[in-house]
Amino acid sequence: MQKGLNKQIVTQISAQKNEPSWMLDFRLKSLDLFEEKPMPSWGADLSDLSADDIHFYVKPIVEKRASWDDVPLEIQQTFERLGVPQAERTMLAGVSAQFESEVIYKRLKERWANKGVVFLDTETGLKEYPELFEKYFGTVIPPHDNKFAALNSAVWSGGSFVYVPAGVRIDQPLQAYFRINSASMGQFERTLIIAEPGSYIHYVEGCSAPVYRSNSLHSAVVEIIALPGAHVRYTTIQNWSENVYNLVTKRAIAHEGATVEWIDGNFGSKVTMKYPCIVLKGKQSKGQIVSIAVAGKGQHQDSGGKIIHLADDTTSNILAKSISKHGGRSSYRGLLKVAKNLKGIVSRVQCDALLLDELSRSDTYPTIDIAADDVDIGHEASVSKISDEQIFYLMSRGFSEQQAQAMIVNGFIDCFVQMLPMEYAVEINRLIELEMEDSIG
């Protein structure tokens, strides 16, 4: 195993993927930026994540066969309790395995292909659609954006490439797990979604089942371009094992009349730093970010959303819900920016925190930067606890304390769950119930 992340490794990654030379240049420049940039010190504590460790994380290009028995018992048990089928378990637990859904994926892919929709892994996308990559790749999130975006840009591997032609509307969500077959989910995924004018796409990634990784850094980049009148919804449900640093950069550009929605659910991990961003670049574009974060023992969920209004008559909405328990910490970090001289801006930001015990913590760090006059902005934040009266009420009807807590917590996140496809909604409610089982002795 090679020590350290260096030019040689990056060159090797690029060569293995047979990439065009511009991509190699992009990677190498990104590596320089990664090395130059200091670790971010403004958010969650990353001091345990030393730069020297990162070499470890870039090695698994070649699939390593592991067995189900290598997966920690705790994760195995959770899969049992969630009732995830064995085939999915092995895939989700990071054990390489051929996955039955390849067949399903193939069939769906054919249907989408008839409409001109492209849904590929990013490497294949680059090979088959180089002109789209040259035009859009790295334009929404340039490598110099932040240290981890630079890292991802240098060593990215895997992720999805989605292209939706003008006017094409795909009602059925595109689910990332159909695409992930023998290659398990990477740790430096790079996703690029291009929605041509008037198109609609709902992309769903993740699963409520815990994702186990022996390596502890996950640093993805997701770029979305919603061209005029396009509508993109991007839903993420992630439940990382407790050793994972989940440091993700997600950003979308909404052109005139376009709508972008980030629906983001964060469970597990040691540290998550994730602030999906929408740049409202075109007039009458709309952005919505709905998120939940659940922080348990030893976990810090530092998440939120960013909206940047750059055009007239743009509308935005952020709804962030967090739950902290067992001494967990959740922070809402948000940015609402309105550029100079804009008219007709409407924005609503609401963050609600629920604390399940005295040990847990919640903070709010909203940044509001408004340089225009004609704005209608609302910002609300609340911190609440489950009241004894609510617990008594439900217990007096026969629900155990644990069931009562789960019902109240599920109620708290209902507005998030409403945004999910049905099967995910059911999974999330079940996951909350499991989390509550753990939180009462």
Binding site: Q390, M395, S396, G398, S400, I408, G411
Partner: protein, 246 residues
Amino acid sequence: MFYISNLSVAVQDRTVLQNCSITFQLGKVYVIMGPNGSGKSSLAATIMGHQGYQILSGSMVFADTDIVAMPSHQRAIMGIFLGLQNPTEIQGLSVIHFLKELCSLRDGKAISVADMMQQVEPLLQLVGLPQSIMQRYVNVGFSGGEKKRFELLQMLLLRPKIAILDELDSGVDIDGLKDLANGLLWYRQQYPDTILVLVTHYRHILNYVHPDVIHIMIDGSLVAVGDSSLLDAIEKDGYEQYAKRS
């Protein structure tokens, strides 16, 4: 039968019930009356096992089991129901989901929404709630009357053996009162063995649901017991006559 013997209860350091004893017999309607703050609601909450009420002494025996140490939900599963005076709001918990879970709990197995609706629909009509209530969140934005009707609905679904209704009649107009009374009468007809305990300080509802036994509570003590003739005595001379005696 359900026995409460020599029950004394404190909330924080304040004694709210002193040496209360009542025997509840199957199939009878009990009324606990008294002025505001006399301890009626404390008694109801204590029977249901509210954590804020600390039992200093005494026992509560139902179905040969002392329930004093039992958590609320087990009491509920045994068949004790408390309809609350001020039922709490639960944001985001839809009535349809809540009632489905409630029925599943009662049956000890998951029930489908369709089967639940089949049971709920006629009861909605009985208690005078519109079907649109199913789409709302539990007690959120309910009027006073709606809350009471919803408490009764839950009682009818859970089919308790002892139903305690704390101020079911307060904050309810005359039509509401009739609906609630009709619901109770229907339930008694269906389940004649039910022990019904009405905690109230008005007598309006008693014009519809005739009580068998009336207890008067003053300052945390049960000071008088009798049949419905007690109602007339209170009507005439108020609670003060008992206060003096105690």
